[in-house]
Each structure stands twice: as C-alpha cells, then as structure tokens.
Symmetry: C2
Subunit: 477 residues, 2 copies
Amino acid sequence: MQKATVKECLTKLPVGSELEVRGWVRTFRSNRFIALNDGGTAANLQCVVDFENASEEDLKRITTGSCIVVRGDLVSSQGKGQTVEVQAKSFEILGDADPDEYPLQPKKHSLEFLREKAHLRMRTTTFGAIMRIRHAATFAVHKYFNDRGFFNIHTPIITGSDAEGAGEMFRVSTLDPANPPMTEDGKVDFAQDFFERETNLTVSGQLEAELAAMGLSKVYTFGPTFRAENSNTSRHLAEFWMIEPEVAFNDLDDNMDLAEDFLKSVIKYILQNCEEDLAVLDARLAEEEKVKPQAERSEQGLIERLNFVVDNNFVRLSYTEAIEILRNSKPNKKGKFKYRIDEWGADLQSEHERYLVEKHFKSPVILFDYPASIKAFYMRLNEDEKTVRAMDVLFPGIGEIVGGSQREERLDVLVSKMQKLGIEEEDLWWYLETRKFGTCTHSGFGLGFERMVQFITGMGNIRDVIPFPRTPGRAEF
Amino acid sequence: MQKATVKECLTKLPVGSELEVRGWVRTFRSNRFIALNDGGTAANLQCVVDFENASEEDLKRITTGSCIVVRGDLVSSQGKGQTVEVQAKSFEILGDADPDEYPLQPKKHSLEFLREKAHLRMRTTTFGAIMRIRHAATFAVHKYFNDRGFFNIHTPIITGSDAEGAGEMFRVSTLDPANPPMTEDGKVDFAQDFFERETNLTVSGQLEAELAAMGLSKVYTFGPTFRAENSNTSRHLAEFWMIEPEVAFNDLDDNMDLAEDFLKSVIKYILQNCEEDLAVLDARLAEEEKVKPQAERSEQGLIERLNFVVDNNFVRLSYTEAIEILRNSKPNKKGKFKYRIDEWGADLQSEHERYLVEKHFKSPVILFDYPASIKAFYMRLNEDEKTVRAMDVLFPGIGEIVGGSQREERLDVLVSKMQKLGIEEEDLWWYLETRKFGTCTHSGFGLGFERMVQFITGMGNIRDVIPFPRTPGRAEF
C-alpha cells in the first residue's frame, strides 16, 4: 500500500489507487466524512469512514485536531467541492486532540487569539496559506537573483559597527549582567566581553553587501535584521527579514529598474504558483472588507491588486515633483494632513505617501532624488549638492516597501559627509577602503520581506505574516 | 555599444561584438595585456590595450585592484589560456588603486593575512570561488526542499527559551549595561527589558520547526545560529548558518534517507554548476597537499572526493556496532587514542569518528541509536529504554556534519524525561502542546552549513568559508 500526501491524492494519483494517507482532522461530520489536511496544500481530502464497521470508541476519537492515518481506495467523489475522495477501509488514531481542551475548534477565531496560539495557528486554513506563500516568496527571491547571476551573501548578524544609524539596536553580550566588569572611568568594560568590544544585532547588511559587490559585482542578502524600537504597531517587528541587493556599476536608474522588475517577478511567481492559497486569502480579505464602511473598502480584491502591480508601470517622479503635488493637494489645502506640507525639504509621512499612491496616482510610485538632509550618509550627492540619489518604492496599503540609493563612491565626498555627521572614520575604515581601492558607481536597496508578504497576502498586521513575531514584551515560543 | 559582463564576453557573445566591459584589474603586463575580472566568474578576460595610442599617464593608472571600463571588440585570441579577448579601442579608469597602498598585490597571500582583509578578500581568485560556491550551495538547499514540497520557515533568532541546551548563549538586551534595574533580591530585573524577560540568541530553530511540521508536514529552516563558546579552533564559529529540516510522519530510517539524499543532491548540484570554481579550489588544495609529508596527504583530490560521496552509499551502523569496532581497533589497543574506548556508553570524540570514516570504512558513515544519556531530551526513546533514535552523519575531514533524530512524540515519556533533567514544563508549554494535540511520529536533523561548504571547497579553516567570521574577540567589519 503506497504512502501518499493529501496533495498527491487530490492532484496526482489515479482513481483506484490503494493508499495510506496521514494528516490532521479538520472536521468530522455525520460520523462519516472526515476533512483531512496535512498542510501541504490548502484543500482538505475527504475520507469516508465505514462507520458501521468501526468501533464507537474509535469514531469518538476522530476529533478536530487529532492526527490519523487512513487506509483505503481513491475513488471519484459524488459530493460537491471535490472530484476524488478516499473510501476508508481502516483508520487509526495517531494522536488524540481532546475537544474540551484543543483550542482550534472549527469556528471563526480572531487573528489576535491565534497570535497567542502561534504554535498551533499554522494548522489553520488561513495561516497554512500565509506560510506556504511566505515560503514561495522566499524561493522566488532566491530564484530571481540566482537566474540573474547574483550571489547570496550572508552578512553578519552580530556587528561591532553602529554607524549605520538605521535605528535603535539590541546589545549582544556574555558579560555578567548583574556585575559587569567596569573600567576606571566607570563604564562597562566591553574589552572583556566575548568579542572584546561592544556588539549589537545588525540593522542592515548593506555596508557589508557593498564590500562584496565591489568584488563579485552582483550580490544580495536575505537575512534577519533588528530594531529595538518600542513600536507597538501593525507595521513594526523587532526582528524581521530583509532582502538587500547591491550591484557594482548600477546607477540609480538601473536600481529603480531592478526594484520594479524584482517586485513584479516575485508577485508573478506567487500568482502562478500559489493559486489555491491566494484564493483562500482573497476570500478572507473580501470577507473582512464587507464589514467595513463603504468608503473604506478597497476598490480591488487581493488577486486583482496583485495583477494590477504586475501589469502596470510604476510611476516614477522626483521628490521635488511630489512636494509640488502634495502642496497643491486638497487634503493639504484643507488641513486634512496631520503634517502640513509647506516647503521643500519636509520629510514625507505615511499619510503623504498614501495620498500619492492611493489617491493621486492609484499606482505604485517610485520617488527619487530626496533632500540630502533627510537621508543617510552613504547616498550619492547630486550635482545640485542638496539632493541625493535616493529612491523609495511606495505600495498601496503598505507605504514604503523598498528604500535604496546609488552609493557615494567618491572617497573625499564620503569622508566629508561623515565628518559633518560625526561618524568616526576609524569605525568604518574597511568601508572607506572600498572607495580608496578600485571604487566605482554602485547601487542597491533594502526590501522588508514581511511588508512584501503582507502585500501579497493582504494581511493587515505584520505579526500575522511571520511564524513567531518578536515585538516589545513578546518573545514567546 | 552593449554593456557586457566578463562572463558574457567569455561564454555568450559572438566574436565581432562591439562592447563595453567593467571590472577590476588583476594584472597588467607588458604595458599591453590586462587580466580583467568582475567576480561573476573565476576566469579573467584578457583586454589588449593599444599602448601606442594611450597616454603614458593613463597606462600607469592600470594597476592591480583598479576599476576600469574597456570599450572595444571581442576577437579570437592567439594567446594560450583563452579563446577570446577584447581588442580595446579605449579605456577609462573608474577607480584607482595605488600600488604602494593596495594590499592585494599579485603574489601569494596567506589565508591568515586575507582574513584580516575580509573586506577585500572576495576580490581574489580563491575567495571569489568560495563565495560563488557558497551561493550555489545556498540555492541548491532551497531548490532541493522546494522541489520536494518542503516549506521554508523563518524561526526566531531572539528567543526567550533556553531549554534546548545546545550550548552557551549570547544575551540580547536593551537595558543600561552599567546600571541595569535590579529586583529586590539583587538580580537583574529582566521584566523591564525590551521583551519583558531574559532573551538570548537562538542555538537552534528545531523546536519551532517541530511546531511548524505538526501543521505543514514538511518544513526546513535555513538561518543563523549562535554559540557563545570560547572555542578558538578551525572548526568553530560564534555565528554560523544552520539548515534544519523537520518532517511529520518520518521515522529515523526516513530521516537517514533524507539526510543522505540531501547531502548528495547538494554536492551533485555544485559538481554540475560550479565546474570552474571547483577547478580553482581543486588546484589550490593539491598545491597545499604537496607541502605536507607523504603520510598526511589525502588519497583523493577535491573533485574526486565529491564524486565519491555522490556515487557511494553511506555506511550505516548502530552506535553499539561502532563501539565494538573501536574497542577492537589497533589505535585503541595500542593506546593511540587520547580517549580510550573501554565500554558502551562512552561519548565518541572526533578522533573516533575520524577513525571510523577515514580508516575503517573510508566512506561517509551514519551512526544511529546512541545511548540516551549522551543525547538531548527530545530524542525518541527506544524499546530498550537505554538508547534513543539519534543519528549523526560523519564526513571525512569534517567529522559530524549532520546531527538528527526521531523526536519523542509521546507526551508522558517526554515530560518524564524533562523532569529528570530539570527542564521546566512551563518554559516549553507550547512544545508540549504539540504532543498533547494530534501528536505523531516525526523526525529532523540539523546541518551546519559552513561545515558543508568546507567539505565542498576543501578549505581547512571554517573562517574561510563565511564572508565575515565571528569568533572570540573578532567582530570586525
């Protein structure tokens, strides 16, 4: 008797096959119909039990959440919703799930409740779909870059450098926390720590990716990054995964082309490879939208939205043009923005980005050439000496999904910028040496992986697109 | 004029193409022949400069490490070692590399020296090859699992759980290190820390992968893991990448099959996709072997060794059988082992593993059914009640490359084991619940990615197969 997965039963094996299939019971109705799921696919396999020849006691143990093995024949199904089912000759309970204790009974659970049960939520239809899509997106990322001659670089997680300034950092240490060794001037003596210096968790692999690009030309990172910010919002995680391509000889235009092509390719891959799971999430979102007031409902369904992004060019405009549009916009004139846009140089807030994307252009937007004063030190200064070759990709419902730039490749300009900002040259001697030896134009960007998965799955809270979210006060599991 | 990479010039473009190619100068000889490399491939592209029509000053700037763009025609080459070359019509220096300062001059550098220059070493032939192979192995891992219906799970890096007992951990904190808040009984008050508890960097994603496998059936992790052990050896890193598949319904035999098939598939992928880079490393290793005394030299070259692993079955034997072989071995009888094997129950040391693999079987070996007393709490107890369903895969030159087990799926057995070892049930309530609700047989293993890359590249020191190694006292870059 062959072992088969639920997916093999539903899509591959010929009717008439004698088989053995394992999985978890989703529902059991009429003492006869088991909906069996093994997580390999969204669909359940119907297994029909011959209840007249089964013991009462065994039948009672077929409960939601129990793990069973069913042996029988694959037959055409008369019922609606499936073309095949398994006519069970026998079944066996591998692991019980007491209905009085098992929390995931077949009824609607709130996303908040399921977050508390992150160890079990992957057994549900919604989270099974999200996690399978997250995997498919992971694979699509690697495939995209591999197909185009990029090399994946594992940049360090523990870093002695804190010059990137991307946000608050977590300290990593093995010193006795209650009695750390102290220096004579009353500071913690990190020279006695594991790495003989103060170390933190990385906020970005960009600087190290640049080092690699200056030897291997096209590289990308895909790893965890960290922010110790006390942000208890639906858009922030303390630990999240970031993708950072970095390409020698690419200028800002090449960089925008790469970001747009990359996003479209990954989304296309999901549209082509995750139809069933997308259908689950499309229906879930439609359900969620129904209860919203008319004015707040999205014009597009989930799959429609994904197709829209794949099929249309992103709008590209300079920061200066964006400021003009925002300054003359209705919400700005009517005082509807929390932060009024009065003059060039203002940092754009989420409300402004959303206005541009969702109201004005109704399309993903790439903004470029930002004021130098609101962007990081490593971005290349334009000839005007007040803007830098930065770019942000803005997505509907998500806001900034990509942030990138052409990097400052001129040693003298970079050093003078660092001096102005008080960044010590000796802390970044290795970064500066790539400008000293064989420097060249190069560009790259960072993409928050969970933001992309949110966009693809339509999930409103970032905590629902990563298996075990880390947020202030939460490090369970 | 089309932009082309070095690889495109060497393998794809037709002779006669007019092109523009960028890269870093490896060597420049006779004021005429540039060996240009852009890191996309091991081979250099010869560019021939018309020195009579170039300025003396420009020619002087073509130095090792400088970055240049060459414009010209792709022509058949008369010289040996290449079939095509670029007849340069013009060239331009993008970034100089002062020969008095640039450290990577064209001579042999020690691996130790290059470790100090990790920001530049990827520009060398050896490290270019290693990093491209590391990338290819990364992709092969994802492809292997994706092709077989596994889902990649990003397990948490910051963890509140320290029950795994796999080794010393790094603490993660945002408390003021000099003045941490204290509780009344004089301990650090981690309730005031970012996560409101003490947190560490993960040593393994296994427990969380098990949670996922109990819903999605087949999963794998591929992420960084950490050991705060003061081991300054060629085999240890404080930060390294681990691959951990976990499969519901797999027993130990399935697990051994998976490990063997996985290792062979990844190595086969490298043999098929990285010929040129393997040739570089094969030659490097042969060179290194030459200076060793005859008795210490490997019998096989690098590529030979990889083919051997792919083509032959791994030897599988129980711990008990291994102990018998070791007890009766010459080195044991003659007192040549540092740790003499006298009785059943002894933990195997590296010297014993190497004897089995390199001397006795001359083959990769899988040992299974280890004494419960020397293995982790979550491994399934055999009927004999003294051994557990553990397995280790041992490789020549590397030692343990994979460690895995069938997991204890019986709640009562697991709880009693934890109690004996003093592991608090409340710390792992979520892990125990997977045994309480729909438990089933399942198995998995962990593979140290760098150990595998070491085996594939033939590099003796683990610090040379990761871009920026983290070891005691070292967190530079």
